[in-house]
C-alpha cells in the first residue's frame, strides 16, 4: 500500500507561507476557476464530487452547501472548523501547518459558493504555532488581495477572521463552536434548525472540517469527474489517517480510499507494535469509535467497509492497542478524558458520561460488580439512542464494544473482588 498525496501534495516542497511557490506549483487554480463560475455551479461541482465531511460524521458536503446557499437570510457565514480535538486525531494540524494556502483557498471557494462575505477559522487553542502561522497568512492574503473586496478581479468580497479556541473538546462540535464564536458558552444545540439554516448569529452558516475544505480546491481544479476517479464509487477521494497508539511509527498518512485494508495501514506504515506483541484492538475512527478486534482488521479503508466491520471511519484517527493491555484499561483511558467533556446540554450525556467514568474507575480499582457491567450497557445505550450531538451518541461506543468483544477483561476485574 502506498500513500497517495493529493491534499498533502505541497507538503515539504516549499516554505508553507510562500504564496508564490504555492501558485507556481498549481495553487489557486481551483479558486480562479470557481470565480469564473456561478456560485450554484460551484455547489453543483461539490455535490457531483461526492465529497463527505472529514470531521467524523461523513455528511455530504455538497448538501450542506446547497442548503445554506438556498437560504434567503443574509449575511451568511463560512466557518473552517480547525478545533481538532478528537482523541488520536492530528491530521488537520498537518494540513494547517504544511499546506495552509490550500485550506485557505478552500475557505474562499466555500464562502463564494454559499454567498458568505465573512469567514472564520476556529483554531484549536493548543496549536499556538499554527495560530501564529494563520495570523501571518491572513495578513499576507489581505495584502495579496485574496481577501477584501474584488478578490482576484472578481466581484466577490470576503473577510477572514482567525479565532483562537479556548481548549474545550466540545467546541469542535459545530453548534458548540458557533456558540463559542458568539461569545457564548460552548454548547451544542437542538437540530433542526441546522447551522446551514440558522447558524452563527442565527444566520445560514456552513461549518466544515479542515480536511474537507482542503479537498475543495482539488475538486474545482480537476473538476468533479476527474476527482471522482480517486477512491471508490460513493466514497471518493483520499483520507488522512492519523496513526497512533502502540505502534512503532506514528504519523499522518494520506491514503486513497479503498486502496488497502486497515491491517495493511497498521502493518506497513506503523511498522509493528511497540511491544512486539499482537494487536489486541483498534479504534479506526478516533477515540469515540467502537473497538475492532484483531480479526476484523481486514476491512478496507472505506466508510462502508469499516462500518460493516462494526466501527466507523470517523476522523480516521487509527488508535492501535496491543495484546497484554486490558480492555478495561483502554476504556478507562478514554473515559478519563470524555468524562469531563460533556457540554451538559442533554441529561443522558451529561450525567451518563460521569456515571460511566465512575463505574469504570470502580471496576479498575477492583471494586466493581456484575451489576456495574449491566449499568454501563444501559447508560451507554440510552446515551447513544437519545443524545443531540455526536459526543453523546458516540462516547459510549468504545465501552459498549469493549464489553462485547472482551467481556473477560471486565469479569476478571470483578472476580478479583470476590476472590
Amino acid at each position: 500500500m502506498k500513500e497517495r498525496k493529493v491534499l498533502t501534495q505541497w507538503m515539504g516542497k516549499y516554505e508553507p507561507l510562500d504564496l508564490k511557490a504555492y501558485e507556481a506549483s498549481g495553487g489557486l487554480e481551483g479558486l480562479r476557476r470557481a470565480l469564473t463560475m456561478e456560485p450554484e455551479e460551484v455547489v453543483e461541482q461539490i455535490k457531483l464530487s461526492g465529497l463527505t465531511g472529514r470531521g467524523g460524521a461523513a455528511f455530504p458536503t455538497g448538501l450542506k452547501w446547497d442548503s445554506a446557499a438556498r437560504e434567503k437570510e443574509t449575511p451568511k457565514y463560512f466557518i473552517c472548523n480547525a478545533d481538532e480535538g478528537e482523541l488520536g486525531t492530528f491530521k488537520d494540524k498537518v494540513l494547517l501547518d504544511s499546506c495552509p494556502w490550500a485550506v485557505f483557498e478552500g475557505i474562499v471557494i466555500g464562502a463564494y459558493a454559499i454567498g458568505a462575505q465573512l469567514a472564520y477559522i476556529y483554531l484549536k487553542g493548543e496549536y499556538e504555532d499554527t495560530i501564529n502561522l494563520w495570523e501571518k497568512l491572513q495578513a499576507k492574503a489581505q495584502k495579496a488581495k485574496l481577501l477584501g473586496t474584488d478578490i482576484l478581479g472578481s466581484k466577490f468580497s470576503l473577510q477572514l477572521q482567525v479565532v483562537k479556541g479556548r481548549g474545550l473538546y466540545i467546541a469542535g462540535e459545530e453548534f458548540a463552536l458557533i456558540s463559542s464564536l458568539e461569545t457564548r458558552r460552548a454548547m451544542s444545540r437542538l437540530k433542526p434548525p441546522y447551522p446551514s439554516q440558522r447558524g452563527l448569529f442565527g444566520k445560514p452558516t456552513v461549518v466544515n472540517n479542515v480536511e474537507t475544505i482542503a479537498n475543495v480546491p482539488v475538486i474545482l481544479a480537476k473538476g468533479a469527474d476527474e476527482y471522482c476517479k480517486l477512491g471508490i464509487k460513493n466514497d471518493p477521494g483520499t483520507r488522512l489517517f492519523s496513526l497512533s497508539g502502540d505502534i512503532k511509527r506514528a504519523g499522518v498518512y494520506e491514503i486513497e480510499l479503498g486502496s488497502g485494508t486497515l491491517r495493511e495501514l497498521i502493518d506497513e506504515f506503523g511498522k509493528g507494535t511497540t511491544g512486539g506483541r499482537h494487536i489486541k484492538a483498534v479504534q479506526p475512527g478516533g477515540g469515540t469509535s467502537a473497538l475492532l478486534a484483531e480479526d476484523s482488521l481486514d476491512c478496507y479503508l472505506t466508510t462502508e467497509s469499516i462500518r460493516r466491520a462494526g466501527s466507523s471511519i470517523g476522523t480516521a484517527g487509527v488508535i492501535v492497542y496491543e495484546q497484554g493491555k486490558s480492555a478495561l484499561d483502554i476504556v478507562k483511558g478514554l473515559m478519563d478524558f470524555y468524562g469531563l467533556e460533556s457540554c451538559g446540554r442533554c441529561a443522558p450525556c451529561r450525567i451518563g458520561v460521569v456515571r460511566m467514568k465512575e463505574i469504570v474507575e470502580r471496576l479498575s480499582h477492583g471494586q466493581g460488580t456484575t451489576e456495574d457491567l449491566e449499568q454501563l450497557r444501559q447508560i451507554g445505550k440510552a446515551c447513544v439512542a437519545t443524545s443531540t450531538c455526536g459526543m453523546g451518541q458516540a462516547f459510549p461506543l468504545p465501552v459498549l464494544s469493549a464489553l462485547e468483544l472482551f467481556p473477560e477483561d471486565f469479569e476478571q476485574a470483578i472476580v478479583k473482588v470476590s476472590a
Binding site: 454548547m187 467533556e341 442533554c346
Partner: protein
C-alpha cells in the same frame, strides 16, 4: 397522522409532543413549556416514528401527514427509566420535605416508570455553599435538586428577555447561575418568578413559601391580579388553616397573561396579611383616632353627611371612588353619591391618569378605551410606543411587545424622553423633550402627507374634518419639530415612514401622553395619526392607551365620573337620566359634578364641605401635595375607606376598614376592556367589611336603602343599566372574561373597536397645534422634571412597600440625572440631593444615569419619603382636567 393508533389532525407546525397532548397522550417531558421554543435537554420525549431509523425526539419534530408514531414500547420505556435514574442520581431526592411534593413532574415520571432513585448512586447533599440566590429575598436556587433542564434559562432569555440566568461549570459541577455569579437581585433579573414557574424539579422555589405547604395542603383560587390594568390571571395558593396566601402562580394558556407574571403579582402579596391592616372603624376625637363599633361609625358618618347635605346642599359633598375596587364597588359608590347624596361630584384617580384618553378618544372615535386586544400586538407590523414605559408599568404587555419584535418581526418605534428598557428592542428611539408630543406627532403626519403615504380611501370613507387637520400640519416640518422636541428631523421622517408603511400599525401609549396640560391634544394627535394611515378598526392596528390600575377601566365604565352614568351615558341627557331615576327610584341631579383636582380647589374655596374617599390615597398621589394636603386638613368632614391607614387616612375624621382584592368576589375590567371574575381566596381580617357593603349601610342609614346579597346581584343590575355590559353575566365569564361592548347574551364580546364604522359614526380629525407645557425651565428652575413609575412599586406604595422582595430591590426613592449634569453640580451616585420647585422641596437620592437626557430629571412617585408630588404642578388640561405630572421646572442641589 396516527399516534398510538389514534388518528390525529393538527395544524402545520405542531410538534409530535403537542399533537399527542391534543389527544391526551402524555409523552414524558421535563424540559418542554409551550411558551418557549423546544430545548430538548431531558431526552425523555423520544418516540418511534415508523420508517425512521432510531428514536425521534418528539418536542422538536413537526408532525407530518401520514406519520405513524409509537410513543412507548419496551425499548423506549427502558431508555426513559434509565434516563430518569440518571437524573435522579444528580437530583437530591428529598420529597419528604419538598415544597413541590405532589406537583413535581420528576416525581410523577419517576413513579410512572418506577425509576430506582439509587440505581446510579444517591445524590447526596453537597456542602452548603452560597450561590447567586443566597442573598435574594424572592427566590431560592437549590443546586442539589437542579436537573439542569435549562427551562429557567430559556424562559429568562426567550419570554422575559432578561437574560439573567445562565449555565455555569461543566459535567458534575454544572449549575444554574447568573453572569459572574452576581446576586440575582442585583443582576438583570426582574424577579418575575418565571424560573420558579417552569422548574420541573423544585430547584427554583419561592423563599417565602418554604415549608408553608405542599400541593395537598393548599387551596388554589383563580382570580385577577390587583395591581396594574393588564389583569393577569393568578392562582392564589392558600393555607386555609391559617388563612394565608402562601404563594402565587399562573397557568400557561390563560388569557391575557399566558401564565406570565411580574414581580408585583408574583411576590408582592405580603400586604394582604400585614399586621398594619385596619381591623376596626376609627373615629377621630380630639385629634386622635379611637376604635369604634361599626354601628356607631356608620351612624356617625350618615348623620354628619345628612347634616352637611341639609345645611349646604348635596353639591357640598364629594366622593372619590376607586380604581382598585371592583366594578360592583364602583357602581354602588356612584349610585350612593348620585341617588343617596344627590350629587354628581364623584370621580376617581382615572382623572389623574387617563382622563385625557377618555375625553380625546371619545371626541375622535366615540369611545375612550383600548381599540385592540393585548394578544393582537403579536401580529402588528409596527408598534409605536409613546409615553409608556411598558416593561415597567405594564410588564406583561411589555413581554408581548418584546415577543412581537423578537419572534414575529414587528418594527418597534419608541418615543420617550428616557432610554427605557424597550429601547433595546426598538428600531428607532425618539427622546422627545417632555411636553412636546404634539410637535412630534404633527411632524410625523407632515411627512406622511408630503410623501403621500396617507390612506386616501379610509380618510374619505370613514373620517371627517381631514382638511382642517391637514391645514395645520402641512406646514409643520420635521425641521421645525426638531427645534421643539430635540429629535433629529431625519429620525422623525424615518419613524413616520415605518409607521405609515406597515400593514398594521399599533400605537401604545400611557401617562407620558396623558398627564399634560395638553393631554387631550396629545391623544387627539395620536388619533389623527392613526386615522391618517387607516390604522383603526382592524386587527392589530389601533390606538391603545394602557390603563394603570387593575380596575381603572371598570371604574370609568361604571360611572365613577362626574359627567356620566355607567356605560358613559351622559348625566346631562334627560332621557338617560329618566331611565336611571326610574331604576334607582330617586330624582337625580342634572348638572355635571366636580373632578378630583377641582374638588381640592373647591375645598379651598369652601364650597365642598365633606369628602368621602374609597380606596384612594390622594395625599400622596395628587399633584402639588402641599396644596392638596392643606385642603384635606381644611375640609369639614373627611371619610377614608381603605385597607390601611394611609397618608390620606391621617386627615380623616372617620376611617372604615375594608377588604382587599384577594378577599372579594366581583369583577375587574382590564385595560383591553375584558370583564374578568375576581374570586375570594382568603377571609378578610375580622372587623372589616367589604367596600360595597359599607356604602350600602351608610346609604341605608341615610334613608336610601341599598342591600344586595352578593356581588353577582349587583352585576346583574349593572348589566341591566349599562348597554356595553348588557350581555355579560357571572356564568359567562367563569372561565375567560368577555370584552365589552357585549350588548346581549349571545354576543361574543369585542376584540377590537370601530370595525365597520367608528363608534361616533365618522372618525373625526382635530386640528391640534403645539402648545408648550404650563411651566417651562427658567434661570432659577433650569431642569425639566418628569415623574412616573418603576417596575417594583405600585402607585403610592401602600401595598408594594410591605413586601420584603420589593424592599430589597427598591428600598427608597431617587431622582435620575444625566452624568454631565451631575458632574457640573458635583453630584455623585447615591448623594443626598434637594429637588425644589416653586411649590415645594424634597430630599432624595441621586441616581446618575445616561438613560435620561441632559437638562431633564425623572422621579418615581411611589415614596412617602421625598414625595415627588410635593414638586409637581396642578395645572390642568382644560378639557380633561388632568394635571401635568410629566412636566415642571425644578432646581436640584447636593446637600
Amino acid at each position: 397522522m396516527t399516534i398510538d393508533g389514534k388518528k390525529v389532525k393538527v395544524p402545520k407546525g405542531t410538534t409530535i409532543l403537542e399533537a399527542a397532548k391534543a389527544v391526551a397522550i402524555d409523552i414524558p417531558h421535563l424540559c418542554y413549556d409551550p411558551r418557549v421554543g423546544p430545548i430538548g435537554t431531558c431526552r425523555l420525549c423520544v418516540v418511534q416514528v415508523q420508517g425512521q431509523a432510531g428514536l425521534t425526539i418528539s418536542c422538536n419534530t413537526e408532525a407530518a401527514d401520514g406519520m405513524n408514531v409509537t410513543t412507548e414500547n419496551e425499548e423506549i420505556a427502558s431508555i426513559r427509566k434509565t434516563i430518569l435514574e440518571l437524573i435522579l442520581s444528580e437530583h437530591r431526592v428529598a420529597c419528604t420535605s419538598c415544597d413541590i411534593d405532589g406537583a413535581c413532574k420528576l416525581q410523577d415520571y419517576a413513579y410512572r416508570y418506577q425509576a430506582d432513585e439509587e440505581r446510579y448512586g444517591r445524590a447526596l447533599r453537597k456542602p452548603v455553599r452560597p450561590n447567586y440566590t443566597s442573598n435574594t429575598e424572592a427566590i431560592v436556587y437549590d443546586a442539589d435538586k437542579c436537573i439542569l433542564c435549562g427551562l429557567c434559562v430559556k424562559y429568562c432569555e426567550e419570554v422575559q428577555m432578561a437574560e439573567a440566568l445562565t449555565f455555569a461549570g461543566r459535567c458534575d459541577d454544572m449549575e444554574i447561575s447568573t453572569a459572574f455569579g452576581k446576586d440575582l437581585y442585583e443582576s438583570s433579573c426582574v424577579l418575575c418568578g418565571g424560573c420558579i414557574a417552569v422548574c420541573p424539579a423544585g430547584a427554583m422555589i419561592d423563599r417565602a413559601a418554604i415549608g408553608k405547604g405542599r400541593e395537598k395542603d393548599l387551596i388554589k383560587t383563580r382570580t385577577v391580579c390587583g395591581y396594574c390594568g393588564v389583569g393577569c390571571q393568578l392562582n392564589l395558593h392558600v393555607d386555609s388553616k391559617i388563612n394565608r396566601i402562601v404563594k402565587v402562580t399562573s397557568e400557561p394558556g390563560c388569557i391575557p397573561n399566558n401564565g406570565n407574571l411580574c414581580v408585583k403579582g408574583k411576590f408582592a402579596m405580603d400586604f394582604i396579611a400585614h399586621e398594619n391592616r385596619l381591623t376596626s372603624p376609627l373615629i377621630k376625637r380630639n385629634g386622635k383616632f379611637e376604635p369604634s363599633t361599626w354601628s356607631e361609625a356608620i351612624e356617625f358618618v350618615a348623620d354628619r353627611l345628612n347634616e352637611i347635605k341639609n345645611k349646604h346642599g348635596p353639591d357640598s359633598i364629594a366622593g372619590v371612588s376607586s380604581a382598585k375596587c371592583t366594578n360592583e364597588d364602583n357602581y354602588i359608590f356612584q349610585k350612593f353619591m348620585r341617588a343617596a347624596i344627590g350629587t354628581n361630584n364623584v370621580d376617581h384617580c382615572a382623572r389623574l391618569c387617563h382622563a385625557s384618553t377618555v375625553a380625546g378618544l371619545a371626541k375622535a372615535f366615540g369611545s375612550g378605551a383600548m381599540t385592540n386586544s393585548i394578544d393582537e400586538l403579536k401580529n402588528a407590523g409596527c408598534i409605536f410606543v409613546i409615553g409608556s414605559n411598558t416593561t415597567e408599568a405594564h410588564p406583561v404587555i411589555g413581554l408581548v411587545i418584546k415577543e412581537a419584535v423578537v419572534k414575529h418581526g414587528a418594527r418597534l418605534i419608541v418615543a420617550d424622553p428616557r432610554s427605557i428598557d424597550l429601547v433595546r428592542f426598538a428600531e428607532l428611539h425618539m427622546p422627545q423633550k417632555p411636553g412636546t408630543d404634539v410637535a412630534l406627532i404633527n411632524a410625523m403626519m407632515n411627512v406622511i402627507l408630503m410623501e403621500n403615504l396617507h390612506n386616501h380611501k379610509f380618510i374619505k370613507e370613514k373620517c371627517e374634518d381631514f382638511e382642517v387637520m391637514a391645514q395645520i400640519v402641512k406646514d409643520f416640518t420635521p425641521e421645525q419639530a426638531e427645534l421643539i422636541t430635540t429629535v433629529p428631523a431625519d429620525v422623525i421622517r424615518r419613524a413616520a415612514r415605518i409607521y405609515a408603511a406597515a400593514a398594521s400599525s399599533n400605537i401604545i401609549y400611557s401617562m407620558g401622553i396623558t398627564q399634560h396640560t395638553t393631554g387631550t391634544d396629545n391623544v387627539l394627535s395620536l388619533a389623527n395619526l392613526a386615522m391618517l394611515t387607516g390604522n383603526v378598526g382592524k386587527e392589530s392596528s389601533g390606538v391603545n392607551p394602557l390603563r394603570g390600575q387593575n380596575n381603572v377601566q371598570g371604574a370609568c365604565d361604571l360611572g365613577a365620573l362626574p359627567d356620566v352614568y355607567p356605560g358613559y351615558q351622559s348625566v346631562e341627557d334627560s332621557a338617560i337620566r329618566k331611565e336611571f331615576e326610574a331604576a334607582w327610584g330617586k330624582e337625580l341631579p342634572p348638572n355635571k359634578g366636580l373632578t378630583v383636582v377641582e374638588m381640592v380647589h373647591a375645598i379651598e374655596k369652601g364650597s365642598i364641605k365633606a369628602l368621602y374617599m374609597m380606596g384612594e390615597n390622594p395625599a400622596l398621589s395628587h399633584p402639588n401635595l402641599n396644596r392638596a394636603r392643606e385642603a384635606f386638613a381644611k375640609v369639614d368632614f373627611l371619610v377614608s375607606q381603605d385597607i390601611f391607614l394611609t397618608e390620606s387616612g391621617q386627615y380623616a375624621d372617620v376611617v372604615f376598614p375594608s377588604h382587599c382584592f384577594a378577599e372579594k368576589d366581583g369583577t375587574f375590567t382590564n385595560t383591553e376592556r375584558r370583564v374578568q371574575r375576581l374570586r375570594k381566596a382568603v377571609d378578610a381580617p375580622t372587623g372589616t367589611k367589604n367596600d360595597w357593603g359599607i356604602i350600602c349601610e351608610i346609604s341605608t342609614a341615610m334613608d336610601y336603602p341599598m342591600a344586595y346579597d352578593s356581588a353577582e346581584r349587583i352585576f346583574d343590575e349593572i348589566a341591566s343599566l349599562t348597554p356595553i355590559y348588557g350581555g355579560i353575566s357571572f356564568d359567562r365569564i367563569e372561565a375567560v372574561g368577555l370584552q365589552w361592548p357585549c350588548p346581549d347574551k349571545n354576543h361574543p364580546g369585542t376584540r377590537y373597536l370601530h370595525k365597520d364604522r367608528f363608534a361616533r359614526g365618522k372618525g373625526k380629525f382635530h386640528a391640534v397645534e403645539f402648545k408648550p407645557p404650563a411651566e417651562v425651565p427658567s434661570d432659577e428652575y433650569p431642569f425639566v422634571l418628569s415623574t412616573g413609575r418603576q417596575l417594583y412599586q405600585f402607585h403610592t406604595g401602600t401595598m408594594t412597600r410591605k413586601s420584603s422582595t420589593i424592599n430589597q430591590v427598591s428600598p427608597t426613592g431617587y431622582v435620575e440625572i444625566h452624568p454631565e449634569d451631575a458632574e457640573k453640580l458635583e453630584i455623585a451616585e447615591g448623594d443626598n440631593v434637594e429637588v425644589a420647585t416653586r411649590r415645594g422641596r424634597v430630599t432624595t437620592l441621586a441616581k446618575v444615569t445616561d438613560n435620561i437626557q441632559r437638562g431633564w430629571l425623572f422621579m418615581p412617585f411611589h415614596f412617602c419619603e421625598g414625595p415627588a408630588n410635593m414638586l409637581t404642578i396642578d395645572a390642568l388640561d382644560p378639557i380633561a382636567k388632568i394635571p401635568e405630572y410629566k412636566v415642571c421646572a425644578v432646581k436640584i442641589k447636593k446637600i
